[in-house]
């Protein structure tokens, strides 16, 4: 298993290099540049700015300069947010994104799995229908609308929770954003779990377990849950990476300091440094998560392990 993991890590290096290269050149193909704002800058100032960020060099030189710095762990400056370099921004913002994404991930997974199991066991009875309704809400209502509605209800009308902002160490400030993030994921996980659980409960080995007189609880705990988890686990990796990248609307509406927004805003602003920096970060996260999922898969399913 160790050598398997090692090989996977090694194969990630060329993938990373290819991704950075493609991203670097595609960005430059897009019209407009980091200094195209509402106002034309005088040519001398523009020339100064371009020289400051090496943008006056041939593209291929810029590419090798970038790769050279990257190998030393330097993600370079931001061209639009002048006060910080890209590594600073990621170092400050990423812990917030991670806190939110992991909280949402844990909550969504626990609620999703429980709800899915309860629905599967009570198939076509009222707990199942309630679940279907909650799932539909989570999937259908877009997160920016959900965020605005929760903000209005709990922040303005009821006044129970802060309507936004960040205070270090305050859990109250996390409740609404994490709810918005977690809801659609809990919904998806519960649907997956319900489906695969129903399937497993209809298999022969479950029937055998029941026929030899095992109680329903033991049947579920010993024979049904583990195989039913497989499709859910393969969703969890992409699910977590989606939580880590997909927090833009939540960050913007609640005014949180995460890095999801850099990903989108920087692309719109043609802030090459930040776009590449966040892309590289997310690339590593996705590669790592895929690896972890594969390892968990091997643990859950003996067929994968011995192949």
């Amino acid at each position: 298993m160790l050598s398997y993991a090692f090989r996977r890590v090694l194969s990630a290096i060329p993938i990373a290099l290819i991704a950075v290269t493609i991203c670097f050149f595609i960005l430059r193909l897009a019209p407009g540049g980091p200094f195209d704002g509402e106002r034309a800058l005088p040519p001398t100032v523009l020339a100064n700015l371009r020289a400051h960020y090496n943008l006056d060099q041939p593209l291929i030189t810029q590419y090798f300069l970038y790769i050279g710095r990257l190998l030393q762990g330097d993600l370079g400056p931001s061209m639009v947010i002048d006060g910080f370099n890209v590594s600073d921004l990621i170092r400050i913002g990423f812990p917030f994104t991670l806190t939110m994404a992991l909280s949402a991930f844990v909550i969504a997974t626990v609620i999703g799995l429980l709800a899915g199991m309860i629905a599967a066991v009570n198939q076509n009875k009222w707990p199942d229908y309630i679940l279907v309704l909650a799932v539909m809400l989570g999937v259908v209502v877009p997160n920016f609308l959900m965020a605005a509605l929760l903000q209005l209800w709990f922040g303005v009308y009821l006044g129970w929770l802060p309507a936004g902002g960040w205070v270090t160490g305050s859990i109250a400030h996390l409740v609404l954003p994490v709810t918005v993030l977690a809801w659609p994921h809990a919904a998806r996980i519960s649907r997956l779990m319900r489906g695969s659980m129903i399937e497993v409960l209809g298999t022969n080995y479950v029937r055998t377990a029941r026929s030899k007189g095992l109680g329903e609880r033991l049947v579920l705990a010993r024979h049904a849950i583990k195989p039913a988890l497989l499709p859910v686990v393969s969703y969890l990796g992409p699910g977590l990476s989606y939580l880590l990248t997909g927090s833009l609307a939540v960050e913007q509406i609640f005014g949180l300091p995460g890095i999801g927004k850099y990903f989108v805003q920087a692309a719109l602003n043609r802030d090459y440094g930040i776009v590449l920096g966040t892309t590289i970060l997310y690339m590593f996260i996705i590669l790592a998560l895929n690896l972890i999922v594969d390892l968990i898969y091997a643990w859950l399913d003996p067929k994968v392990r011995y192949r």
């Binding site: 897009a30 019209p31 407009g32 540049g33 980091p34 195209d36 704002g37 509402e38 106002r39 034309a40 800058l41 005088p42 040519p43 001398t44 100032v45 020339a47 100064n48 700015l49 020289a51 400051h52 639009v80 947010i81 002048d82 006060g83 910080f84 921004l89 400050i92 913002g93 965020a147 605005a148 903000q151 209005l152 922040g155 303005v156 006044g159 802060p162 309507a163 936004g164 902002g165 960040w166 960050e251 913007q252 509406i253 609640f254 005014g255 949180l256 300091p257 995460g258 890095i259 927004k261 719109l268 602003n269 043609r270």
Partner: protein, 538 residues
């Protein structure tokens, strides 16, 4: 063991309670600031959301009063030579940076040299180009910074020499490009001097914390010369670009001042929070440019006239946007200083709409277009709900003329790239005045300058060009008599507008919401309200 743990817990709780009680007695302003500041360096800043933070921690020779008039700042007085080209400033006694180092004339000299140094790459350096040799140093033509027209006579006396008399120069000195920077810190740390752990200031507030994407936090500077009159102890400048979310947080009591709100909520605000929303004329113009390059359809003045005269400007502010922006028929916003009393107002603006449409149809026929031969134009705007509403309305207004409008939207960088490179027919644009003077908008219509064989049109996206207009602008720039200068500029405005150089749509307004707890807020056309003039009652 357990006992000591308990004692520790009680002590910690007590200390926390004490901290919270002192925190509660401090007055904190929660200001909604919009976008995330790109920088805290005055030479690199470019937005009003940066100005709000920077103008609170650094003060220039002049600063803004509560109503944003230019008043003495770090300079207590000044003298201007008779020809209007030499300004001598006397600095206040006892002014200092927050690390205790005195603020000297040398800091200002250093700051201006840094502003124009090509290596600083300051976006807005051109605002101080009235200063002698500033432009040449910025373009690299002069490399000896000592030739800049800014000299320290002694630690307390600063002399600034201009290229020519500039009536708005004192006003320009309130701008952040004219702010001093701490010479000793910048020399020691370079660009890192604005990092929160290094930053020092000479203004009423000092930066304490910056959490990108969430807020900047400042505290009152006890060593500021007017600290005795500064009421607010702590300021949070909150980052929040989503206007609806900002309004929700204001309603939840988390913000004291909003610096913008969704236009469609104006009526709701007036009904439910009377007196809190302030819509104030702002020095800026929202307009459409028409590509007048040779060979372009819109180089035909008849078509430009037909288009401009059939825009029903009265409905745009009140009905389409809902915030009551005033219709614009000219090029210089009302309330601009150093200008003539009677603003430009074309005769056609008072002609009934039906007659205007008839005349416009006739003009279109003359130009060879009509119902049988419709004119198709592409209208570009940068992606935004309000821009879209107006673009759709214009397309509908021009339909009776037999003009088919194809709408095309793109994100800001792409949009302005297209305008700049002349790759458009009609395009949306806007201009907020950098300083309160008519030349700041009229300059937008000056003929471009030829550089290395290509024309650089700067912000004149429509490529409007008129020799008489250019000559009036040139005369005005050297005219010392403010009244005569105003008339020259007014004549220039009339020439450009009579030729439909662009389609002015409306004058911008600033939109603020101010909690009844806040006093000292004075709405003004620059929409600058420094925290030092505000106070808050709980």
């Amino acid at each position: 063991m357990k006992f000591t743990t308990a004692i520790k817990a009680v002590a910690t709780a007590g200390a926390m309670a004490l901290m919270m009680s002192t925190a509660a007695s401090a007055v904190t302003l929660q200001l909604h600031n919009g976008a995330d500041p790109g920088t805290l360096d005055p030479h690199r800043a470019s937005g009003d959301w940066e100005n709000r933070v920077i103008g609170d921690y650094i003060e220039g020779l002049l600063t803004e009063s509560a109503s944003a008039e230019a008043i003495p700042g770090q300079a207590e007085s000044w003298e201007i030579s008779e020809d209007g080209t030499v300004y001598t400033f006397k600095l206040r006694d006892g002014i200092q940076w927050s690390d205790g180092t005195p603020v000297t004339a040398g800091d200002f000299v250093f700051a201006f040299q840094r502003l124009f140094n090509p290596a600083t790459a300051a976006d807005y350096a051109y605002l101080q180009f009235p200063i002698k040799n500033a432009e040449k140093i910025n373009s690299g033509e002069i490399t000896d910074f000592n030739e800049l027209g800014v000299k320290a006579i002694d630690d307390k006396t600063l002399e600034i020499t201009l290229e020519a008399s500039t009536p708005f120069f004192l006003e320009a000195l309130t701008h952040y490009t004219a702010f001093p920077v701490p010479k000793h810190k910048v020399e020691e740390l370079g660009d890192d001097w604005t990092k929160v752990e290094n930053i020092i200031g000479n203004g009423p507030y000092l930066i304490k914390e910056w959490l990108p994407g969430s807020y900047v936090r400042s505290e009152k500077n006890p060593d500021y010369y007017d600290a005795a009159n500064v009421q607010i102890d702590e300021v949070f400048y909150h980052v929040l670009e989503d206007q609806a979310a900002a309004l929700n947080r204001y309603r939840a009591g988390e913000f004291d001042i909003l610096t913008d709100f969704p236009s469609d909520q104006y009526q709701w605000l007036q009904d439910n929070m009377p007196g809190q929303a302030h819509v104030t004329p702002f020095l800026g113009i929202y307009y459409y440019v028409m590509n007048q390059e040779e060979g372009q359809v819109l180089s035909d003045v008849r078509i430009r006239e037909a288009l401009s005269t059939t825009v029903v400007r009265d409905v745009i502010g009140p009905d389409i946007l809902g915030t009551g922006e005033l219709p614009a028929y000219g090029w210089v916003p009302p309330g601009t200083s150093n200008y003539v009393e009677n603003a430009y107002h074309p005769e056609w603006a008072d002609v009934p709409y039906e007659e205007r449409v008839e005349k416009a149809k006739a003009l279109m026929t003359e130009a060879g277009y009509g119902p049988d031969n419709p004119l198709t134009l592409q209208l570009r705007y940068n992606t935004n709900d309000n821009h879209q509403r107006i673009a759709v309305a214009l397309a509908a207004m021009w339909e009776p003329l037999g003009v088919n409008i194809e709408l095309f939207n793109a994100e800001t960088a792409v949009h302005y790239d297209a305008l700049r490179s002349g790759d458009f027919q009609i395009g949306r644009a806007g201009w907020l005045l950098d300083y309160n003077d008519p030349s700041n908008t009229l300059d937008l219509l000056k003929t471009g300058v030829s550089q290395d064989g290509t024309m650089n049109w700067g912000n004149n996206y429509g490529r409007y060009s008129n020799a008489e207009f250019d000559s009036l602008m040139a005369q005005a720039s050297t005219e010392l008599d403010l009244e005569k200068r105003g008339e020259l500029l007014a004549n220039a405005e009339k020439i450009a507008m009579d030729e439909f150089a662009a389609i002015p749509i409306y004058w911008y307004v600033s939109k603020d919401v101010v909690s009844p707890k806040i006093s000292g807020f004075e709405a003004n056309p620059k929409n600058i309200f420094r925290t030092r003039w505000l106070s808050k009652s709980e």
